[in-house]
Subunit: 126 residues, 6 copies
Amino acid sequence: MSDFDERFKRGMEILQKMGREKTMLNQKELYPDLYDISVGYLFGEIWSRPQLSLRDREMITLASNIALARPVGTHSHYNSALHIGITKEQIMELIIHVGMYAGWPAIALAVTQFTEVLAERDEQTK
Amino acid sequence: MSDFDERFKRGMEILQKMGREKTMLNQKELYPDLYDISVGYLFGEIWSRPQLSLRDREMITLASNIALARPVGTHSHYNSALHIGITKEQIMELIIHVGMYAGWPAIALAVTQFTEVLAERDEQTK
Amino acid sequence: MSDFDERFKRGMEILQKMGREKTMLNQKELYPDLYDISVGYLFGEIWSRPQLSLRDREMITLASNIALARPVGTHSHYNSALHIGITKEQIMELIIHVGMYAGWPAIALAVTQFTEVLAERDEQTK
Amino acid sequence: MSDFDERFKRGMEILQKMGREKTMLNQKELYPDLYDISVGYLFGEIWSRPQLSLRDREMITLASNIALARPVGTHSHYNSALHIGITKEQIMELIIHVGMYAGWPAIALAVTQFTEVLAERDEQTK
Amino acid sequence: MSDFDERFKRGMEILQKMGREKTMLNQKELYPDLYDISVGYLFGEIWSRPQLSLRDREMITLASNIALARPVGTHSHYNSALHIGITKEQIMELIIHVGMYAGWPAIALAVTQFTEVLAERDEQTK
Amino acid sequence: MSDFDERFKRGMEILQKMGREKTMLNQKELYPDLYDISVGYLFGEIWSRPQLSLRDREMITLASNIALARPVGTHSHYNSALHIGITKEQIMELIIHVGMYAGWPAIALAVTQFTEVLAERDEQTK
């Protein structure tokens, strides 16, 4: 197995632990190289480094994304956080805490996006 | 003891646990109301909420600040992180991880600021 | 009346003057503590400070939010600005001016969001 | 012809070369002065400066907008880039490259917006 | 007098009212065209528009710059604000207020920069 | 030669073409893994992709960094741009152009940093 195959495999394993092995497929359709970079590099080489736990990595990913207040790219992380056992209450406290460092409109966006995630999850369990 | 005094006291207790009860004194000198808000509200009401551990709060504070790449306001958090037992290696991994979500220049700034903090600590222990 | 009740009351009074006592109810439903912080702290302790007029506070809130170009969290402030007598022309001049400091895409977002607010207001007065 | 008329004319000529002489009409409707500034100043005085080629200006506009990850204001530039001959592959490489400097959520937003542009173009050529 | 000369003259008049006719000379030395654009366009065409007062324009400029937390480009505006009669107390309240929308590290930077401005002014009046 | 060695080698080759094979050594000293990632991944895998020219990649890197207005991380790119033949005039036009999309304080920072780079180069050629 080549180095590339190995790191892609490692990336998919992390994504499976996070319950999101079917995300970023829009990248795959638009430009396969980007998908390979996201899975093989971001997840296969960075997320899989052993010095921080998966929970730590998810917490700090949520914190940076909420701070940067990007329109997209955070929904999947709320799902992963819940999937690996971070509670709704802890996520809300993280939103409030990060909001002090990034400002109230960052809170407003996080509330909107997290509410969308919770609604979709409710819908799926019906 | 009034509510204000209580939350100010709670804020100072958190700051002591973080080893930084002498920070933000430039705020106190410039405009005491701001210092009261920072200690009494940010630390006394937000940081002291029980739903997340102090370690979690320090990790996500570092993550948001590194993501936002502000020129000042992060040095004291590197010190606090080390003070409460987050290792240098974990901080470096946090910088690398957040850098994927905020970009390489955010890594460059974090490396500069964390290096300054480490140099100052070396100086103090001589 | 406790300190908490007093500042919550002060916050609601400010929100009433701004014509938006029914905003942020999504925060209330999702996590009541956040709603209490937004009303009691942001509006009850910060907005209610006497050293700047309500008009000044609305102008600088619009300016920071337009500069930060957040996807949500500004619509209610366009409504409040109009409610307290800042004219449509002044808001447009503020958008143009802030755009010079935050860039043309910040203008594009502000135009989109302000147009949505004006359309909704037209709808309501029919 | 007055200076103002001249620069407005120059701005419209650039916009025609970019295949977007019908953009920003929402600005015209909302507040004509803003439209005059955008066409006459941004395009008539800045984009029309001779020291950089139109292709260079479009590449660096895309790069800044993708880096800033604004919710609106970039779609028209993907269209113009394609219109003047920058290929889909080059745009995707630009997105990946800028993503390293602005972070993965900036890539996620760019992918979403560029996909919307491509879908709309497909629709129009049917 | 040509249109260009007129707007440059208007720009210098605004800058004089703001007590900063000697700023941006580093632009003039590095690349005169940029200086002409800054004086003639930013100040001559935007700041000189009559629909907002000079005080309003300075307040919203400070608000956007503090929100964006740029390393440079704000010092001159603290000086201008004081020059046209906005008090130190009002500036501090603006910093605190904007800090709620842009986060505590934006406050930390504003405090650092405003303190530098005040120290330099003290020095000059000795 | 392992995959890792190959991409590190490719990264160093790009850095040599850019005249900056001695940059980022502070990363190497602080945490060698980060240096390996920067050279081997950012330069060895992204910058070395063939679909965009080195000139294009330098132009869009400058554009994103100027837009993001980071305190550090851009100086080396001004040097590389000059090294590969982008002229001072073109860099100034790029700064002005990007400034329209990121705002005037981004121009102010770019002028400061580019001036520092030019001064250091003058010093070295004495």
